[in-house]
Symmetry: C2
């Protein structure tokens, strides 16, 4: 069971060695490996865009709110949910795609997420460092324009990739009881909530975040500063447009 | 790079050894390992429900359209997108969760998919067989009732888990060019589509599916029989209800 230590010791990497590059050959081997992840009906409803050109990378990093991981990575990937390729296949084969609706497009979001995680696992197992850049969802229109995405393709997240210049530190996780229910959903009591979040709330860095942001609780830092409602609402409007678009739009 | 062979040789497993059981200890180790997958802001917006009780398992298998993998697995997991736990934490800590909207709930769908794939990778690396059961999405209300899911929790897919009784065969994949674009989205030409889907269309089993279903093309089998529009549209209605629900519903 030693391989399980790989999973529990892994960490996202945000600092990359500027002098060491990810070869095209290695990247393609990793993408090929990841493409063997399961997908809905083996339809592979995703596309990944590889950005290496320095100007384009800088442009996308800016759209990723200039996060250090985005600015310093060697290669940036943008993972997209994609029903467009399947639709084109159907059109070329006298078939009417059934994926042009919210249900079909959700399958693409799942396929893309599963593919992305399989890529990251394969990359980390081979020594590369990776970091998800969820910020693609905050500016779907901007990424769509920059990457020339057609209708039926939505940018889900970026992945910053490179050779690590510093080892990442595994971050805290909720205890297993918080995320696993047996037989039916376990509705957490207030005591459960206290216990689930105790480790996270007692981290030294949590006190720092609370103080820096003039908040009373760590949950307020998450809710008001890190993942504010207004931004998620804007993302939601774009998401619903993508999910609900009709063929005639 | 030998570990990449693990990824390219993996296959979903639908036939399980009825005499060999997945121990509680192993399952918990795998779930714990998977919980170290990245998630949005490390919020872990997912819950997994473990079903071992034979009657409950049979009930869920029936809801999974009596697929053999569902009927014969040793343990069934149901992976759910979950903003409810985070909301409870916020309520208990004088914060207003910003995840109660389509944008926040999409993050939960991504987190849950990423967690599920990390579980499957860890399980397969330790000799277990797994199969996604996407059919949970076809009957969200039924799974919600059976698993007593509260508002803010949506069943995404099942995972059938067990010790394999037969080795799975890796299935075909689209060529790398089909799923990878360089710098900007590559809009496929008709010739590209022909080339991307040639291997799949030329498989012996594809001819069988076309004949069995009285269709002209493999795309018609996918679009009319395997992933019909009507079912995806019904799923979409439920999905949009989940994504768009307001706090007061």
């Amino acid at each position: 069971m030693n391989n399980l230590e790989f999973f529990t010791n892994r960490a996202s990497v945000r600092a990359f060695d500027p002098d060491r590059h990810v070869s095209e050959e290695l990247l393609d081997k990793l993408l090929y490996a990841a493409s063997h992840a399961p997908s809905t009906g083996n339809m592979q409803l995703y596309t990944v865009i590889v950005t290496r050109d320095p100007e384009r990378k800088a442009h996308l990093a800016h759209r990723h709110l200039d996060q250090p991981a985005a600015r310093n990575c060697d290669v940036m990937l943008t993972v997209c949910a994609d029903v467009h390729r399947f639709d084109l296949w159907c059109k070329a084969r006298k078939a009417q795609s059934g994926l042009n609706n919210p249900g079909g497009r959700m399958s693409a979001i799942e396929d893309a997420s599963i593919f992305a995680q399989q890529f990251i696992t394969a990359a980390e197992m081979n020594g590369l460092g990776c970091c998800y850049l969820g910020s693609a969802a905050y500016d779907m229109a901007g990424f769509t324009e920059a990457l020339r995405l057609p209708k039926g393709v939505i940018p889900l997240f970026g992945i910053a990739v490179g050779w690590p210049s510093a080892v990442g530190t595994p971050s805290d996780r909720l205890p297993l009881d918080a995320i696993v229910s047996r037989e039916v959903y376990h509705e957490p009591t207030l005591a459960d909530i206290d216990s689930y979040y105790a480790e996270k709330e007692n981290l030294e860095e949590s006190a720092k975040y609370i103080a820096e942001n003039n908040k009373e609780t760590l949950a307020q830092v998450y809710a008001d500063v890190r993942y504010p409602r207004e931004r998620n609402e804007r993302t939601g409007v774009e998401l619903l447009k993508f999910l609900s678009a009709s063929d005639d739009d």
